[in-house]
Each structure stands twice: as C-alpha cells, then as structure tokens.
C-alpha cells in the first residue's frame, strides 16, 4: 500500500494521535457519566463496578485511558500554543516536554493503581 507523503510528517502523526485519543475519550464519556450517576440511583451497582476495576486488566485499561487523556490534553495545549502564542523554534522542545509529561502522568497513575 502506498503511503501518501504527508503521512510521514511528525505533524500528521500528532494530528492522528490527537484525533484518535479524542475519539476514544468521547466514546468513554457516556459510560463514565453513567457509572457516576449510579451513586444516586444504585449505590450497590456502583460499588460492584468499583470492585470490578480492581481487576489487574482493568487497571491496565485505566492506565491506557489516562494515557489517552494525557496525550490529548498536552497535544491540545501544543495546538493552543501554536495558534495563540507567537511561534518560536522552542516549541519543538515544548512538544517533546509535553509528550514526556503525558507519559509521566500516565505512568504515575498506573503505579498508584497497581
């Protein structure tokens, strides 16, 4: 399969990462809201689901979710910086720092959770 030239660009990768993480988070959102609303309607079901999240596989999935969130938030901040701040070469450093911070936050969550 031929890969179109622009798809080799780091910015293309940044775009895809932002879009996929955003899509994943948007799809997760209704489930998240539903589980929280159980606090009012069915506290036993909520506790059951919270117990379910102690499962190691779920911890791993949660870590992935936090990673998506971290990637999306810092990718978004990069975008805001590009659009609203005067552009400078330092932004490559900011982008790298953003990725590192995203990874750090996700790892911190996973280590706390496991």
């Amino acid at each position: 399969m031929m890969i179109r030239p622009h798809r080799h660009q780091p910015l293309w990768f940044a775009f895809v990462l932002h879009r996929l993480s955003g899509l994943g988070l948007a799809l997760f959102l209704p489930a998240h809201f539903y589980v929280l609303s159980l606090a009012l309607t069915d506290i036993d079901a909520l506790n059951g689901l919270l117990k379910w999240t102690e499962n190691p596989l779920l911890k791993f999935v949660e870590g992935g979710l936090v990673f998506l969130l971290a990637v999306h938030i810092f990718g978004g901040l990069r975008l805001l910086a590009l659009e609203f701040l005067p552009w400078s070469p330092r932004q490559k450093t900011y982008a790298a720092a953003a990725t590192a911070t995203a990874f750090f936050v996700a790892c911190g969550f996973l280590m706390n959770a496991v």
């Binding site: 959102l29 998240h32 609303s37 978004g76 706390n112």
Partner: protein, 109 residues
Amino acid sequence: MIGVRLYLAQRLSAMIMAPLILVHLVVMIYAIQDGIDAQEILSRTRGSVWWAAMYGLLAAAVSVHAAIGLRSIVHEYLKITALPLNILTWAIGLFLMGMGANAVVAVTL
C-alpha cells in the same frame, strides 16, 4: 464545516478544561491511594459547592468540546453536512450535558 463560532467554542472549552482536568487527575491519583470505595468518596464530595461548581463546569465544557470534535470526524468521514450535521452536533452535546449533569448531581449533592 466548523465556522468561527464553533472553532472559538472548541478552543475556549479546551482552555477551561485544561487546568480542571489536571486537577481531576491529581484528585484521582490521590483518591485511589487506599483502594476505591463509593461511600468514602461520596462522603468527601457530597454537599460541597466547590466540587459541584468545578465538576459542573468541567462536564459542560467537555460536552461542548466532544460534540464539536465528533462533528468534525462525522463530517469528514461520513460526509454529513448542513442541517443534519447541526442536529447531530446538538444532539450529542445535549445528550452528554444531560448525562454529565446527572453524574455531577449524583456525586456532589
């Protein structure tokens, strides 16, 4: 298919969410320290105007942000335009806002 107003709403909601999400992440990392238990968490969040205000604002901003983001994806891949696209955007936004309000009320009131 994203006009100036939606573009600005997307950026503004992002600027509102960014600090609140970081607070949310720190709170979550703190809250799961000794395992997670509904009663324990609710005893801390219920009756707090500040948590209700913070999470209410976050839920509203995230609903706007997700609706506009999904609108772009749906438009690009499914070629939906004009009125159907607007209806879909509003439907997603209002659906998320309703569920979000439910969740915030359940946890903080």
